[in-house]
Amino acid sequence: MKMVEQYLRAVGSKLPWKSRKDITEELRSLLMDQIEATYGDEPTEDEVKSAISEFGAPGKVAARYNTDRQVVAPGLTDLYFMIMAIMAGAMLIAFTTVFIVEALQEMPAGAELAKRILMVPLNAVGAWLSGVGGLTLVFIVLSRIGRRTVDLEENWKVEDLKDVQVGNKIESKIELIISIALLFIFIVLLNLYPSIVTLAENTFVRSGLHLGHRIVIEVFRRYIGVLTVFWAAGIVLRVLILQKGEKGKSLLWAEIGLSVAEALLAGIMLVDRNLYADTGGWIGFKVIFFILLVVNLAEVGGGLLRMVRDRVVNSDPVSGRR
């Protein structure tokens, strides 16, 4: 019966890959049982049509077998769309910045200028789509991990609540969103246009101030990969904080760990002699790396202090137990 096969094909195309063959086989058997029971061994085409129609729309039939199959967990969907929007804005800002920097340096005109202006949104969309791919992978992993964490909806015990972390409520969502956008912008700018560092140095010199040293771009490129990894980790960390709405103990530890790593990198960059040319003083990127080192160390100190404070605040005042 061609119509039955066509119907099963339509249902099958909407079924999960893993169990598609088995479900389709079962549906064939069930549908044929129904046809035979209702219309006998030799049903007419109209009778088959009627039986199929009664069985239900292919999408609806398949949907009943597709419960709990979401790419992104419902609790993460809003956050997923928000990060997508942040990325779109960040990519547009990053590529506009690259365009302005290149335009100021190379002064393109006429058709070349028009072409470069046109390329800004096209490049931004291209980079955004790649970013959305990566973002989706991260959210798929988060959704799967989320399933294994405490489910307070079913089969839960009061004892499970000990795994729920009560941390410090995040002060400002906007601050986190802006820092995520900035990290995206830094990643795109440094990876696409590493010589922006030289441009910044030239701008500094043009302002009439003395530059103590210059960055050797070839050496600096080696650090870009590590910086990208750290910044990507920073984005993931901030996304997790946004999702939870607070900084629990594990997120606080992760933040401290990342700050230690970033401080270490800033320290290494500070003392790497190959990274600098014309070393005649501290004024230049060394100051920025030093500030990064100090800021990250301060964050490590602040994080550890918060840990100690939380332990004191959360300890049982009578028994002293935590």
């Binding site: 169990s19 079962e26 058997s29 039939v61 009943r64």
Partner: protein
């Protein structure tokens, strides 16, 4: 009289809750999907095929039913039967059902008496 559509939806929800127990009770002997639909309907349980078939697979994945394909008939058929865990679960669900039934009956008789007094 309440909203008819809303009432129908609530009745569907009520029935859905009892379907698992009905299926476990009626799967003592190996039975295939269509046969189970008709048996349930004959017993007075109005069930849609498209609700029952995915439920059978779900109960199987939960270990309450087991299945095997029978290739001997005119066409291959997947037979389901209740497992030991399914049987024990059915007993527990049955006890709960009786308890709920008792409580609900008392609540309903109170409601009926109230209606009569009006």
């Amino acid at each position: 009289m309440g909203d008819k559509r809303l009432t129908n939806n609530l009745i569907q929800e009520l029935k859905r809750g009892t379907l698992t127990l009905s299926v476990l009770l009626m799967s003592g002997q190996p039975t295939y999907g269509y046969s189970l639909v008709t048996e349930l309907q004959d017993a007075g349980i109005d069930v849609e095929q498209n609700t029952l078939y995915p439920l059978l697979r779900r109960l199987e994945s939960q270990g309450l039913l087991q299945s095997s394909w029978d290739m001997g008939d005119s066409r291959p058929r997947k037979y389901y039967s209740v497992t030991d865990i399914g049987r024990k679960t059915a007993v527990l669900l049955g006890e709960e059902w009786r308890r709920i039934n008792k409580v609900m009956s008392e609540l309903m008789s109170g409601l009926m008496n109230g209606e009569e007094r009006k």
